[in-house]
Each structure stands twice: as structure tokens, then as C-alpha cells.
């Protein structure tokens, strides 16, 4: 990996981290550029191997598909997993399985960095407090812009340095591994995504019987040659039939409440 490639990866690692305003805020940054699937494409373009990048991205994505970050409490650091795990695996000539294997420990180590930035960033809130106490609006904006600096240095810098310096080590590790260890990574790399889906199941199952829906989806794709896009259309139909059959009366009540609330314009009585 050249230094220039490492710098580009560091830059995108920053753009995909949690505190970046630059590209439509949290929607375009953390929730888009920061997703391993998208990271895989970006890293693939930077390293000149789009195909491997996208496949590795999709495999690492599966590992983290069930991860949501309520209240900033993060179970694992997706940013390091995506922007260090994928490039290191690709640069060392590895594949998606190696990216998954690297992503797991990196996501745990990255948590330390995440918590560190979340802690030191309180400094800028205090800076904002002082500005607010003086009635200094420009000071609020200044504190907001300055809050991007530690993220940029730590997120971008760490990804760049580890990718650049870690490539020879990752190359050495992957090339000197005996056949059986490589095979182990392959097996573990294909099993670990089960955790991602299990986490998603844990948080989505509103009622226990809904596990059948998961089984239905699995069997339909596993046993037929249906594409997932076709399955999505089918799933939408199933969900609609269920929701509609639940009771028509409630649907009628909804628009009525809508209009009555819209008629009252400026009422803050309550």
C-alpha cells in the first residue's frame, strides 16, 4: 500500500466516523460511508481491486448488520473494522474471510478510541457553555467546528497509520500461515456473520412467533433460486396482508386525527 492510498483511506475513515458533518451529517457519514459495505467499495477503488473490496465489504457488513448504537453506547467499533480490517486484508492479498477475521479484534480495540473521543469532546461543550453565558453566538459555532478536529486527527490518523504500517505485518502473517490456519479463518469467517444476524433477530423479534418469518426468508432463498430483491417484494406483500387484515377500523381513525390536529394552528396551551 502506498502512502497516498493510506492517506485516502484515513480520509474516508474520518468521513465515515460518527461525528462528521461534511456529507449530509450522520445520514451520509456514519450511516452510509461508515457502513462496511460502502467502505468495501471505496477501499476497493483506492486499492485498485473493486471486486475484492466489495465482496470483503459485504462480508464484514454481515458481521455488523445487527449493530445499532443507542445513546452512543457502542458494542463494537465498526469504523476500525471497516477502514482498517478491509484494507489490511486486501493489501496483504487476502480475501473477505481474512477481512472478517481482522475486523473482529479491530472492532474491539477501536472501542477504546471511540470512548476516548466521546470523553474529550466534552471539552467543546464547555467551550460552548462559556460562549452561551456571554451571549456569544459565534462562539457556539466555533466550538461546533472545532469539535471536528480531534475526530479528524484521531480517526483519520489512526486508520492511515495502521493501514500503512500494518500492511507488511498483515502480508507476512497471511503468507506465512500454514494451510490449516488459513482454512480455520475461512470457516470462522463464514460462521461469524451468524452473530450479526442473531443480534438483529434479538432486537427485531417483537413477538416470538415472528421467528417463522426469518425461517421463511431463509428457506425461500436457500431452497429456490429467488433473488433477494424478489424476496423483498414478496415480504412487503406478506407484511401488508398481515397489517391490513389486523383491522380496518383503526386505519379510518388515523386520517381523522390528522386533520383535526392540523386545523389548530398555534396552540401551546398544554
Amino acid at each position: 500500500m502506498t502512502l497516498f492510498q493510506a492517506i485516502l483511506i484515513g480520509l474516508f475513515a474520518y468521513l465515515g466516523s460518527k461525528r462528521t458533518p461534511w456529507f449530509f451529517g450522520v445520514a451520509g457519514g456514519w450511516n452510509m460511508i461508515g457502513r462496511p459495505l460502502v467502505a468495501g467499495l471505496i477501499i476497493g477503488i483506492i486499492l485498485g481491486d473493486v471486486r475484492s473490496g466489495v465482496i470483503a465489504g459485504a462480508m464484514v457488513q454481515a458481521l455488523f448488520i445487527g449493530q445499532i448504537t443507542p445513546g452512543g453506547a457502542m458494542p463494537a467499533d465498526v469504523n476500525w473494522a471497516a477502514y482498517i480490517g478491509i484494507p489490511l486484508a486486501l493489501a496483504a492479498g487476502g480475501t473477505g474471510e481474512q477481512a472478517v477475521a481482522l475486523a473482529v479484534p479491530l472492532s474491539m480495540l477501536g472501542l477504546g478510541l471511540f470512548n476516548f473521543i466521546m470523553t474529550i469532546n466534552a471539552y467543546f461543550a464547555h467551550m460552548g457553555d462559556k460562549a452561551a453565558a456571554k451571549g456569544d453566538g459565534a462562539g457556539i459555532h466555533k466550538a461546533t467546528y472545532l469539535a471536528a478536529v480531534p475526530s479528524f486527527i484521531l480517526r483519520g490518523g489512526s486508520a492511515m497509520l495502521i493501514c500503512y504500517l500494518g500492511t507488511p505485518l498483515a502480508e507476512f502473517l497471511i503468507n506465512s500461515m500454514p494451510e490449516i490456519v488459513l482454512h480455520f479463518f475461512e470457516v470462522a469467517g463464514k460462521l461469524l456473520p451468524a452473530l450479526g444476524f442473531a443480534m438483529l433477530l434479538k432486537q427485531s423479534l417483537a413477538k416470538q412467533w415472528m421467528i417463522v418469518l426469518f425461517l421463511l426468508g431463509w428457506v425461500m432463498i436457500g431452497a429456490t433460486s429467488m433473488s433477494v430483491t424478489a424476496l423483498a417484494v414478496f415480504a412487503t406483500a406478506v407484511a401488508l396482508v398481515f397489517v391490513m387484515a389486523q383491522g380496518e377500523t383503526k386505519v379510518v381513525a388515523a386520517p381523522a386525527a390528522n386533520t383535526s390536529a392540523e386545523e389548530e394552528d398555534d396552540c401551546y396551551e398544554e
Partner: protein
């Protein structure tokens, strides 16, 4: 927009600017102490400056009340700053809106919106899109997969934030009531999305998780490939399905932590590989 009444202190342009500022900066200053507090103040400051331009003391107090702890799911939560701006405008017009009411409204809304936003936007909508995108590129590395995700996600989420922000401003506190009163409609959307998500995610899981038995049973001339002749006969992918359900059982019912499960999978794989079973 409904707020085109003649005595409005803010123009459509002011609100548009604040909406963009929110979309870009909502999460920009996140920290453990205030979470999104500073960014919230940053978003509403230009509005406050205009509303309280003749009253520096009130302006200062307004800045301080929006510096407080604030935390929600920023994407669905775009309704809340809209409501806040409507309330600040009413206060500036001399209506009976106390500081406490503004602060309490924000605090009362941020919890429910965080809950619904995390489970619906981040926990269901995003995984559905990611699943469809992953299925497009998992085998052949087709860049259409990630590009599909980027375009659909960005367009829908930015449009949703824009709509909610403006809805919050034009309806004020009624927007929140509307949201909570229509509980049956919200429940339907939630149930429908969850059901759809579970089916799609089941499909993608079947193409992603894999486990193959390499072991072959040999007895004289007879060779039985356990994978091909037993498991594939039952149902292709039956083994990874069982393993995924076991992981879910350990996670959800046995309350294992993610780290413990990762270790268990690693040990399981190592043993299986060492024994030559997988």
C-alpha cells in the same frame, strides 16, 4: 407550509437554513457529557439571534437552555428541533410559553424518538436496505450493491429529515401529539416493517452464513460425503440455519455477550477444523 401567517417572525428561508444545518450537524459534536447538546444549540442559534435581536438577555438564556444535555436518534428526531423553533417563535411573540415548557418538551420527546428511531430507522430500515444491497454483490463483487444502498438510503433519509423538520415547525407541539395519538398507525408501520425485515434478513442470512462439512465417511468402497449426501438432502443450508438459531438462542435467551459468542464461534471453528470435520 402552514406557517405563512402574516405575523410570523421567521421566513421560509430561515427554516430551510436551520433544516440543512440540522441535517449536517446534528451529530457533529457528540460527547458523553451532553451528547448532542452543543450541536443543537449550533442549529438553532441563527433562529434565536433573529427572534431575540432586541433582547440580549433572553438571547443569552435561550443559548444556555439549548446547550443542555440532548440525545435522540438524530434522523427521526428531526421533528424535535422543528417543534422547538416553533415554540421559541411563539415565546418571542409574547405568547405564554415558559422556558421550562420548551426544555421539558425537548426532554419529553427525545426518549421516545430515540427508541422508535433506533429500532425503526437504524435497526430495521437500514438492515433491510443493506441486506438487499449485500445480496447484489456478495458473490461477484458488483459495485451496484453498495451504490444502490447509498442512493436509496441517502435520498429517503435526507428527505425524511427535511420533511419532519418542517412538519415540526409548521405544527409546533401538535406534531408530537399527532405522532403519539396515532399509535395504532405507528404500530402498524412498525409491525409491517419488522415483518418485512425479518423475511428479507432471513434470505440474506442464508446466502451469508455458511458451514460445510468436509468430512467424508469411508467404508470400503463406499464414500458418503456427509454434506452432499445427508445435509443437502434435508435442505440446502440447514446446518448454518441451525447454527444461526443456536447463536440467537445463546444471545437472546441465555444472555451471552457478543464477545463471549465470538470466542465460542472461534473455538468451535478451531475444533472443527482441527478434527477435520469442517
Amino acid at each position: 407550509m402552514k406557517n405563512k401567517n402574516e405575523n410570523s417572525l421567521l421566513t421560509k428561508k430561515d427554516i430551510d437554513k436551520a433544516a440543512w444545518s440540522y441535517i449536517f450537524f446534528a451529530q457533529a459534536t457528540q460527547n458523553f457529557e451532553r451528547m448532542m447538546g452543543l450541536a443543537f444549540c449550533h442549529v438553532v442559534e441563527p433562529i434565536l439571534k433573529k427572534l431575540y435581536k432586541d433582547n440580549p438577555e433572553e438571547y443569552k438564556r435561550a443559548l444556555q437552555r439549548h446547550m443542555q444535555y440532548y440525545n435522540t436518534e438524530p434522523q427521526l428526531g428531526a421533528l424535535i428541533p422543528g417543534i422547538t423553533i416553533a415554540m421559541e417563535e411563539a415565546r418571542a411573540k409574547g405568547e405564554d410559553v415558559s422556558e421550562e415548557l420548551i426544555v421539558n418538551t425537548k426532554n419529553a420527546l427525545m426518549g421516545p424518538f430515540a427508541g422508535i428511531g433506533d429500532s425503526m430507522v437504524v435497526g430495521t430500515y437500514s438492515p433491510i436496505l443493506l441486506s438487499i444491497a449485500m445480496s447484489m454483490c456478495m458473490n461477484d463483487g458488483n459495485p451496484v450493491g453498495p451504490l444502490f444502498f447509498c442512493v436509496v438510503w441517502l435520498v429517503t433519509i435526507v428527505a425524511m429529515q427535511w420533511y419532519l423538520f418542517h412538519k415540526g415547525y409548521s405544527m409546533g407541539i401538535d406534531a408530537a401529539n399527532l405522532f403519539f395519538k396515532n399509535k395504532s398507525l405507528a404500530d402498524k408501520i412498525t409491525t409491517g416493517l419488522t415483518m418485512m425485515g425479518l423475511i428479507v434478513i432471513g434470505g440474506v442470512a442464508s446466502t451469508t452464513v455458511s458451514a460445510k462439512i468436509a468430512y467424508q465417511f469411508v467404508s470400503g468402497d463406499m464414500v458418503i460425503g456427509i454434506q452432499e449426501q445427508i445435509f443437502d438432502k434435508i435442505m440446502p443450508g440447514v446446518l448454518p440455519l441451525i447454527l444461526t438459531l443456536v447463536v440467537w438462542y445463546l444471545l437472546d435467551k441465555k444472555k451471552w455477550s457478543a464477545t463471549k459468542i465470538i470466542l465460542a464461534i472461534v473455538v468451535f471453528s478451531a475444533v472443527m477444523v482441527a478434527l477435520g470435520i469442517m
